[in-house]
């Protein structure tokens, strides 16, 4: 096929953005779900849940877009990666079902409120952990024969993937704490600041261990980061991470209501960039590059036309719906 226009970089950007939006949006959403489990009373639980009730559905839609975007732009990667993480994906989906219905059920089903409270909190935690495991398994790479995953369905289970699972629990909770500081007041906000600092410690330990472990796992990754002159260009990433971490720690203790969330987002951006630097241009790590996994040009072109029109529109009206629900939440707003 003639390569007049190469759509792969554009799709890499779009998909990368979609996945990052998912991580960010459902990240704070799931994080709020986990912190919910630590709320002391019904009133604060109501406040916490109402802070995300009108938007969680839209946040989760980015997961669908990420999955479908991967299928559409890089189908080979979809067909190899998803079977390789069969059980983490299963567990994530079932947990998301539980936490999703808990929004409606909890408030209408007074007799089983505790059950749905648990469903919401544990569902959020289990879904997060499963996503972290998927990330870890992805970085480690999969056994591939031809165009198919050829390993076993439990290959994903390694110390490394468990580590990334736990790290993400802290990561999403940090985002969740940032959101709650932004959206709530008083006791709930104060608790979020305390939890935020604990999570930040967990996140930094996670980032640190993963950063040390990954180069040992793959020579290519080690070379990418530590070979001359890369080390010079890439040094700002860890330096910036340290700076943002320090900033986040400070603002969690300050009076600022927006900066902790900004700090948490900053840490996610840097971690995301770090992983991208390690793996680029692989989309099925160590087997297929983005170009090798890409769908046909016609497919990418057909979808690109609509995406370039629709994505800005989506961002606009999604932004509008966030704007409608701006400001602080109260326990009695939203579900009553």
């Amino acid at each position: 096929m003639s390569q007049v226009l190469d759509f792969v970089p554009i799709w890499t950007l779009i998909l990368g953005m979609a996945v990052f939006f998912y991580v960010l949006l459902d990240g704070f959403d799931l994080g709020v779900g986990m912190l919910y489990g630590f709320a002391p009373d019904t009133a604060s639980r109501n406040t916490i849940m109402n802070s995300i009730a009108p938007i969680w559905d839209g946040n989760e839609t980015w997961l669908v877009l990420g999955g479908l975007g991967l299928l559409a732009a890089f189908p080979l990667a979809f067909a190899i990666i998803i079977p390789a993480v069969y059980f983490p994906v299963l567990v994530m989906l079932l947990a998301l079902v539980f936490r999703g219905v808990a929004f409606e059920f909890r408030f209408r089903d007074a007799e089983h409120k505790t059950f749905w409270d648990h469903g919401f909190c544990y569902g959020s935690a289990v879904a997060t952990f499963a996503q972290g495991v998927v990330l870890g398994a992805f970085i480690q790479g999969f056994e591939v024969t031809g165009r198919q995953f050829s390993g076993g369905s439990f290959d994903f289970l390694t110390p490394f993937s468990l580590l990334t699972g736990f790290a993400l629990l802290f990561g999403y909770s940090l985002l969740g704490a940032g959101w709650l500081i932004l959206k709530t007041e008083g006791e709930v906000q104060a608790a979020a600041r305390r939890h935020g600092r604990m999570c930040l410690v967990g996140v930094l330990v996670g980032i640190g261990v993963v950063s040390i472990w990954t180069p040992f796992m793959s020579q290519a990754i080690a070379a990418r980061w530590f070979a001359w002159p890369n080390i010079l260009y890439l040094a700002p990433v860890p330096v910036a991470t340290a700076a943002v971490a320090f900033f986040t720690w400070r603002v969690l203790g300050s009076a600022s209501e927006t900066k902790p969330f900004v700090g948490a987002i900053g840490l996610f951006v840097l971690s995301y960039v770090g992983i991208a630097i390690s793996l680029f241009p692989m989309i099925v790590p160590y087997h297929f590059t983005l170009w090798e996994s890409a769908s046909s040009e016609r497919t990418q072109a057909f979808l690109l036309v609509g995406t370039l029109v629709l994505l800005p529109v989506i961002l606009m009206y999604t932004g509008w719906s966030y704007w409608v629900f701006r400001g602080k939440v109260r326990a009695d707003v939203g579900y009553h």
Partner: protein
């Protein structure tokens, strides 16, 4: 026991989609109904429409929430269990799925929040627009997903290179031969399903003697709609059948349990099809009618299953019975609509306890028909995922063991068997409570962002109460 990952994966897909489709079957119709009620309230200012809308929005929010989470499960099935199907068809099908996400899911999700929680936070027109957008989203979603499904039934606009499908003509891919019929048949089915639910709930409210006015409005509005849609649906179904005859003759032969190709074939009302012996047991046949129904000619030729190699035939009994269940539901629906129309003409719509009771019992009939129709068309497509081109057996993920799929199937079974009964229970509870009476609705929409100005909607509502 030997666990076959392909068979278990099919069971799993049938399980997750079977439960999922029940939710669009109600939310597509309800979204449009709510948008209409919001519109009626916006343009006429009558608060009865607001009360009915507020009532259905509660039920909608539960159904929609369940629809979202069970829907998120679906695209991942293509990866987890059907990765070879994904690899083979992604170049053609994936944009359709992706467009569903881009045009429908975000639209629904963003405006749903405003529809559910924003009545006091946005102007009245914006709330109405939110209702419209949610309804539009559900229809766009139906459009894309049924286009993809139809392509699997009647593929077009593609070429095959090295066993994988590549697009050649997007218009032909999207508007493949069975798509217009399937889209019309399914969307009308969703509206009819919702119609019978709304009518049944209306009848219940009238029988119970509380919120009678709301119940009567629900019943009356919906009966008009169904008077048009039920006969229309039968016409569309017939057209869809002709389309199936042209493009998927083996499926049609299985639906009708026809083994021999022949003219002047009978219509088999009942039989026990025997796949091995290639014949029907205990058949009850009506002469000539088969040709008349399937070809619209008494002398028309209908292809039989023996024209197809045994390994290219669908199982016969399942589509045969499922189709009869669907048509049976359709006939009952038509009967109810005719009786209702007659009672209305005689001015006795609310004076017939028997009609109200039967209408109430018939509330879930659409779901039965939708599931039966879905089974007919999907089992009838077997043994293919892409009709005539890609076998189901060659679509499944090769790395999966039977044990893997059994575990996941148990997981899906357990979770769905918890959330569906719980969801149904909660929806029935809302029905039992009924629409808020006029004095309550004020409290109902109370509670906005602190300091938010009281919007025109709430003010007019209070005026409405005084009236």
């Amino acid at each position: 026991m030997d666990l076959d990952p392909a068979f278990l994966s099919r069971l799993q897909f049938a399980w997750v989609i079977g439960w999922h489709i029940l939710l669009p079957a109600i939310t597509v119709g309800l979204a449009a109904y709510i948008a209409m009620l919001e519109g009626l309230n916006f343009f006429t200012g009558k608060d009865i429409y607001l009360r009915i809308s507020t009532f259905w929005i509660k039920i909608f929010s539960i159904a929609f929430g369940m629809g979202v989470v069970t829907g998120v499960v679906m695209p991942f099935q293509f990866g987890t269990n059907w990765s070879r199907f994904s690899d083979a068809t992604a170049n053609v099908l994936s944009p359709l799925f992706a467009y569903e996400g881009l045009t429908a899911f975000f639209l629904e999700a963003a405006f749903l929040g405003v529809l559910l929680f924003g009545r006091q936070l946005v102007p009245r027109w914006a709330h109405f627009v939110a209702a419209l957008m949610v309804a539009l989203g559900t229809l766009l979603s139906s459009f894309w997903i049924l286009s993809a499904n139809s392509w699997m039934q009647t593929p077009a606009g593609y070429e095959i290179i090295d066993g994988r499908f590549f697009p050649t003509d997007w218009f032909k891919v999207v508007f493949n031969p069975s798509f217009p019929y399937r889209l019309a048949h399914t969307v009308v089915a969703f509206f009819v399903t919702t119609g019978f639910v709304v009518m049944g709930v209306g009848a219940y409210l009238m029988r119970r003697g509380r919120s009678v006015e709301e119940g009567r409005t629900m019943l009356s509005m919906t009966l008009w709609l169904l008077t048009v849609l039920v006969p229309l649906q039968m016409f569309i179904g017939d057209q869809h059948g002709l389309n199936t005859r042209d493009h998927q003759p083996a499926k049609l032969a299985a639906i009708e349990a026809r083994w021999e190709t022949a003219r002047q074939v009978p219509l088999t009302l009942f039989a026990i099809p025997d796949d091995k012996a290639e014949r029907n047991l205990f058949a009850i046949d009506l002469p000539w009618l088969g040709s008349l129904v399937l070809t619209h000619e008494l002398d028309g030729e209908v292809k039989g299953l023996k024209d197809f190699p045994a390994d290219q035939r669908p199982p016969v009994a399942i589509p045969f019975f499922a189709f009869r269940a669907m048509v049976g539901c359709g006939i009952v629906m038509l009967g109810l609509v005719l009786v209702g129309g007659w009672l209305r003409w005689r001015g006795r719509l609310d004076a017939s306890p028997a009609f109200l009771a039967i209408t109430q019992i018939a509330a879930p009939i659409g779901f039965v028909a939708v599931i039966a129709g879905w089974i007919t068309t999907e089992v009838g497509r077997q043994p293919w995922t892409v009709y005539g081109l890609l076998r189901t057996a060659d679509s499944v993920t090769p790395s999966l063991t039977g044990f893997d799929v059994m575990l996941s199937l148990i997981g899906y079974a357990a979770v769905y068997l918890i959330i569906y009964p719980a969801g149904l229970f909660l929806m029935l509870r809302i029905v039992r409570k009924g629409p808020a009476i006029a004095a309550e609705i004020d409290v109902e929409i109370e509670g906005g962002r602190p300091g938010a100005p009281v919007r025109a909607g709430a003010v007019e509502l209070r005026e409405g109460e005084v009236r």
